[in-house]
């Protein structure tokens, strides 16, 4: 089997004040997997995400992406391979137009001309925003901006798409539209979220992070049905939602 897309081994990290956020995280994500990262607020989920593309470096332990260690030498390659979509699209979209913003990442990778244009077009089409390339981000609806934020990362053709709270602040229709789009993408996904029904729909595997450690890892249906594990780590299903009432997602067929 080839090297995992993401590999974390014994990753430790602490805030500048010494408060530990990650206390030895081990995690493997393989090509084609769709993994949810669950955990209460303050569990270290965002800190973990920022380790995946080298924004933060571990104090101890090792992070590698497709076999490459995350270090100064491989930083640009790592950032191409790990596409992070941040929670607030206004943080992600900073260029005057949607098209320029989607071009920003691939341009940093050295793409120009027709190749760059094709990437931008393809990425915007993938999220159903192909007609909005010339619009300013602040003229789009929130749901549209979230989709463009996904496109800005897809344009870099990442090995793994990392989504931080993809469904937050979306109305139900936008939430479903984004799910349809994510479902169609042929890419490895790591999704950080509190939206458990979304996880059951989109990710066949769930990892529970609590107080800087991985405390649960398994098929989403089983993790969500494990009442003891859920209760111990402040994870709660929405009222009336029974994960056993629907068939869980199985590993994607497109590989």
């Amino acid at each position: 089997m080839s090297a995992p897309v993401l590999e974390l081994a014994g990753v430790h990290h602490a805030y500048p004040d010494g408060h530990p956020t990650l206390r030895g995280v081990d995690l493997h994500v393989h090509r084609g997997e769709r993994v949810a990262l669950l955990g209460p607020n303050g569990a270290g989920k965002t800190t973990l995400v920022l380790h995946l593309n080298g924004i933060l470096r571990p104090e101890a332990g090792q992070v590698s992406v497709a076999g490459l260690p995350v270090d100064e030498e491989h930083l640009l390659e790592v950032r191409r391979r790990v596409g992070v979509v941040f929670q607030d699209p206004d943080d992600q979209l900073f260029m005057p137009t949607v098209g320029q913003d989607v071009a920003f990442g691939p341009r940093n990778l050295g793409l120009r001309g027709d190749e760059l244009r094709a990437r931008v077009e393809h990425a915007l089409d993938a999220v159903g925003m192909g007609e909005h390339a010339d619009r300013a981000p602040h003229h789009l609806s929130f749901g549209q901006r979230r989709r463009v934020a996904v496109a800005t990362v897809l344009a870099m053709q990442p090995d793994v798409l990392v989504l931080d709270e993809p469904s937050s602040n979306l109305d139900p229709a936008s939430r479903r539209e984004l799910a349809d789009i994510l479902d169609r993408l042929d890419v490895t996904v790591l999704m950080v979220t509190h939206d458990l029904p979304y996880v059951l729909q989109l990710c066949e595997r769930s990892v529970v992070l609590s107080e800087g450690r991985v405390v649960g890892d398994g098929p989403t249906g089983e993790v969500l049905a494990d009442e003891a594990l859920m209760a111990a780590h402040r994870l709660e299903l929405p009222y009336g939602f029974d994960p056993r009432s629907v068939p869980p997602r199985t590993r994607a067929t497109t590989q």
Binding site: D91, P96, H138, M156
Partner: protein
């Protein structure tokens, strides 16, 4: 997004002026303003011709006069200054109605008023026919230093975001019964401003983080796309007219 968008200076249209590449319009507007400033103030007729040339451009762009007139209000402080000049300047005086006013002040006030108004009107015409992101694109193509272009681009992009945040904070304040009345409201307004600054600063950090995540290495290209063709530079007609008027005014001896 609900609420007003940050492009109230722009008048949507499809005129030949609207379609011109932004860098051409910026260069034309700047040169025209320079010609206006270079025109000797004694050549009153020349300013009439400048205005006529500008009005023709505005007519071609089909921007309504009322639209520009309302936005010319920004010039009021300068007009007030221009009006006071004849009264506060020294030197030889002459009667004007019931007043005795300074001749030098009269000319200085006139020059400030005429050149200022033409400059403001030119800038408004540019803004009315060019959307803000295009102005940024044009400046980048005119080789303005990249850092300055980037700062302007961020300002345009985040003006709406920050003003929406400010509006939300105001609504939240008022919803808890706060009313801005007199000096006692100042500490509250000051802490609102402080909180807004901290939030914007933090947003700046998050934006930078998101840029780094997409491989940012210190360079952003804002000037992409086709550049102006030969025909587009026909827009030089406006500044050339302005320059011709200024030159004629000098040659006719008005400046001596």
């Amino acid at each position: 997004m609900s609420g007003p968008h940050g492009h109230s200076l722009h008048f949507h249209g499809h005129s030949p002026i609207h379609r011109l590449p932004p860098e051409v319009k910026i260069a034309a507007a700047l040169t025209f303003v320079a010609a206006v400033v270079a025109t000797p103030r004694e050549a009153v007729w020349a300013f009439g011709l400048h205005l006529l040339a500008l009005v023709v451009v505005i007519a071609v762009a089909q921007v309504p006069a009322g639209f520009l007139a309302r936005r010319m209000v920004i010039e009021v402080p300068f007009v007030v200054l221009a009006v006071t000049m004849p009264f506060i300047s020294t030197g030889p005086t002459r009667p004007l109605g019931p007043f005795e006013v300074s001749v030098a002040g009269l000319w200085a006030g006139w020059a400030l008023f005429a050149k200022g108004s033409l400059g403001a009107l030119t800038a408004l015409a540019l803004a009315a026919t060019t959307e803000a992101p295009d102005v940024v694109r044009g400046l980048a193509r005119l080789r303005l230093p990249a850092q300055i272009v980037l700062i302007m681009s961020f300002m345009i992009r985040y003006l709406d975001v920050v003003s929406t945040e400010l509006r939300r904070m105001r609504i939240a304040r008022e919803s808890r019964g706060h009313a801005v009345r007199g000096i006692r409201a100042w500490p509250v307004l000051a802490s609102t401003a402080g909180a807004l600054f901290v939030r914007s600063y933090e947003r700046g950090e998050r934006v930078h983080l998101a840029m780094l995540s997409r491989g940012f290495q210190g360079r952003v290209d804002l000037g992409e796309g086709g550049s102006a063709g030969g025909r587009d530079w026909l827009a030089a007609a406006l500044p050339l007219t302005g320059a011709a008027i200024a030159a004629t005014a000098w040659l006719s001896g008005a400046g001596r």
